[in-house]
Amino acid sequence: MSETAARAVTAPKPRRDLARAVVRFAGDSGDGMQLTGEQFTLESAVAGSDLATLPNFPAEIRAPAGTLFGVSSFQLQFGSQRVYTPGDRLDCLVAMNPAALKVHVDDLKPGGLLIVNTTAFDRRNLDKAGYAANPLDDPTLAERYRLHKVDMTALTLEAIQDLPLNTKEKDRTKNFFALGLVSWIYTRPLDPTLDWIKKKFAKNATIAEANVRVLKAGHAFGETAEIFSECYQLEPAEMAPGLYRAMTGNRALAWGLLAAAERSKVPIVYGAYPITPASGILEELAMHKRFRIRTIQAEDEIAAASAAIGASFGGAVGVTASSGPGIALKGEAIGLAVTAELPLVIFDIQRGGPSTGLPTKTEQADLMQALYGRNSEAPVVVLAPATPGDCFFIAYEAVRIATKYMVPVIVLSDGFLANGSEPWRIPDPSTLPPIEVHFRTDPAGFFPYLRDPATLGRPWVRPGTPGLEHRIGGIEKQDGTGDISYDPDNHDHMVRTRAEKVRRVAQEIPPTSINGPATGDLLVVGWGGTYGAITAAVERSQADGKAVASVHLRHLNPLPPDLGHILREYRRVLVPEINSGQLVRVLRAEYLVDAVGFNRVRGLPLATEDICDTINQLLEGH
């Protein structure tokens, strides 16, 4: 421990209790803001806070240093009560350079903590950020915010001046100075980060030493420097007891598949073509070959879906994933799976569109594509996880439904869920519902389109089974025999049967849980990654004494059987979505309720505040 750090411990500054805080680290893409944010998340989780995160990075791989479009940021909210979202406005912003300040400062609450790395505020960086004058010299900044100018680079270099590293290597550790400082401010334990450094740089003691020293230097700086008069502490949140880990949506989807493969004893073949923000699932699965997950990086999305279908025909569970543009390409192939009545799981990690759009930003605008993005009547099951951790259960559920009903299942995740993380209570996998797959082996009376009376699913046969040789295809088939049929009435019957099979999945849906009164003035209906923002807003309104409830849909097709009834128990229905109004159209068409949408398509999660405002307006009858 360096001397400064030691000193710090001796004279602690006052600690103020806090219920929650929203912190954002922002800097250049090369400044390591994502890592900083992740470590701060881990520290907060270990400190017992509930939390939610929002990584946000440019589409460019390494945008030229100092530019506005090259700014990368990581935001999190942590608190001693339930935390649903990464937060709207910031309590604390760390700006590592002028560009980061420019892009993010408006999100800081008046009076919020603004920590800037003054070293980076040189003429070159100011120019790149388009600042004529140094904003730090503008007194209004310090008036509006609690501004702390820290010469981080110098302090960093000082802390490790004696280490045999070059300046570039030394400079690269300055994000840990920021991390140490903010950890001090919010009384976060450094141990998780110290452990991480140990593991990560096990083979390079000097780099490890440098990072440790800089981290502690930042921490000590908070304690000792005159500029910080107080720090904050948070009670641990009341969270269900258990073992926790941080979980991102993409990893949870991947692990959900691993769990499904283990429980079903059916191997999974995962066909994908890289695309942001879905690639992480492929990369995660590729590391777990021991689970008999076979990954194919296909030549394109069509091949990826096709390979998955081929695998399903072979008696494995075919899974494919992409983001919106790639899902658009898979439409025809999904139609084949619909009519071939094979299990297929499709993950759509939604991102900003249309077309290439905003590849690294989040959106919820593929619901209609999931429901209808294919030729003709080709219904599929559509599910959506509510939180990063929920992705685990949804992936598992998707495999279960796909194999039970012999039907494609689309899972709608999004960029926010994919990269965002939450403290996740590790489930006991043996408590998951079983996935019972029966491959038909009995040739007696076999036809490929016989149906299970309960699910309407047809028999799944593994090629290689003697006596069950059969042919299927994309041309319309006679129900039962599976022979090609152009008979008009058979076609009508098959169209209805495929639809009914999907409708039957409703029997899998548990009663809808209502967050709030069972009847009232307003019901807020959401789906997917907006769960946190909606829940936070509704609970705030409830705390204000309003008769507001919310319902969050995980099953979007078919819809929960009790939903129509629930909707009619409220005077008004509000549907917040990060799209132009998709679920709201489905609900209006289905239930003929005058549901209204709240729609913001900004590439970002919805703001709790905005939803609150809308709730209030609706309640006041606007």
Binding site: R245, W255, R290, I302, A303, P463
Partner: protein, 342 residues
């Protein structure tokens, strides 16, 4: 995991009839597809593979109706995607023997990309590409193999595209087994199909096929007795490249980096070009030859050995399991950074 379609020892003794399904065959009377079907059905017993371990995957087109007529497992899928579907099937089930049936449109127009990638991956599949130089099922538009200037429904003044040469294309993609045969040469077809089926990796066979309705006699150079005699050059490993009638036998030889045709009699034996299936350079030169200036090669252009995609995939899985055992989700969930809340 056993290699492709073993089980020869226990495989029942089949006859052609065992591979005929109960479905009505729906091609035009006179279509070359009938002959191919018959040749494939006749080849099957010799593969020594239990019928239930054989799968036919096809795309869309007249030719792609094929699987319905084979009493094996079969999947008539969507246009152009059969190689990708077959890839997924092989990765899931490397114990099955998988055939892909495709057409010049299905395999080289909409499906060209999947063809490229299945060939370079060397997935263990046998691909039968029925080349009739026309779109049959959609009623006679020109195809990617149609000759330039072809007058069809969609090109009343002649097509503007230069045709793709399936053999040259396959070789350019890195194919490990490339052959050509002809629907009307039954014995050669059977022999070629069997060789392709036995290849470890992707066995690509171009079958010159007659569409008597929309492109009759496109391959007349190999149907017409005289023309065939003059131009057909059978590729036989280890044998010199010669062709033409006995009394006017021609040899194909290299003049520097150019193939030329010379009277066989006058060619010194050491200048004869001995066909070598393992020489991909030679195969590429042969691929570009066609009548009238050159002979038309039929048979196996190239057969080389290379790693098979799904074998590597499976091998990695086995190695991963051997290293650390089969994965357990309960353990994985608790791995890495965790913390307890009491």
């Amino acid at each position: 995991m056993s290699a492709t379609g073993t089980g020869a020892a226990e495989a029942p003794r089949y006859t052609k009839k065992d591979f005929e399904s109960d479905q009505d065959v729906r091609w035009c009377p006179g279509c070359g597809d009938y002959a191919v079907l018959s040749a494939v059905q006749k080849s099957m017993p010799d593969l020594g593979i239990p019928r239930e371990n054989i799968v036919f995957i096809s795309g869309i087109g007249c030719s792609s109706r094929f699987p319905y007529y084979m009493n094996t497992y079969g999947f008539h899928t969507i246009h152009g995607r059969a190689p990708a579907i077959a890839t997924g099937l092989r990765v899931a089930r490397p114990d099955l023997k998988v055939f892909v049936v495709t057409g010049d449109g299905d395999g080289l127009s909409i499906g060209g990309n999947h063809m490229l990638h299945v060939l370079r991956r060397n997935v263990n599949l046998t691909i039968l590409l029925f080349n009739n130089r026309i779109y049959g099922l959609t009623k006679g538009q020109y195809s990617p193999t149609s000759e330039q200037g072809k007058i069809t429904k969609s090109t009343p003044m002649g097509s503007a595209d230069r045709p793709v040469n399936p053999i040259a294309f396959a070789l350019g993609c890195g194919a490990t087994f490339v052959a050509r045969t002809v629907d009307r040469h039954i014995a050669h077809m059977e022999e070629t199909i069997k060789r392709a089926a036995a290849h470890r990796g992707t066995g690509f066979v171009e079958i010159l096929q007659n569409c008597n309705v929309y492109n009759d006699l496109a391959w007349n150079v190999l149907y017409d007795k005289e023309q065939r005699l003059a131009h057909e050059m059978k590729l036989e490993h280890g044998k010199p490249l010669v062709f033409g009638p006995v009394d006017a036998r021609q040899a194909l030889i290299m003049d520097g980096v150019k193939p030329v045709v010379a009277p066989a009699k006058e060619t010194p034996p050491d200048r004869l070009w001995i066909h070598d299936e393992s020489n991909l350079n030679a195969a590429k030169i042969l691929a570009d030859l066609f009548a009238p200036d050159y002979p038309v090669p039929v048979g196996v252009f190239a057969a080389v050995s290379a790693p098979v995609y799904e074998e590597i995939v499976l091998d990695q899985e086995q190695r991963a399991i051997a290293d650390k055992g089969v994965g357990e989700i309960a353990k994985l969930l608790k791995s890495g950074d965790t913390w307890k809340i009491e």
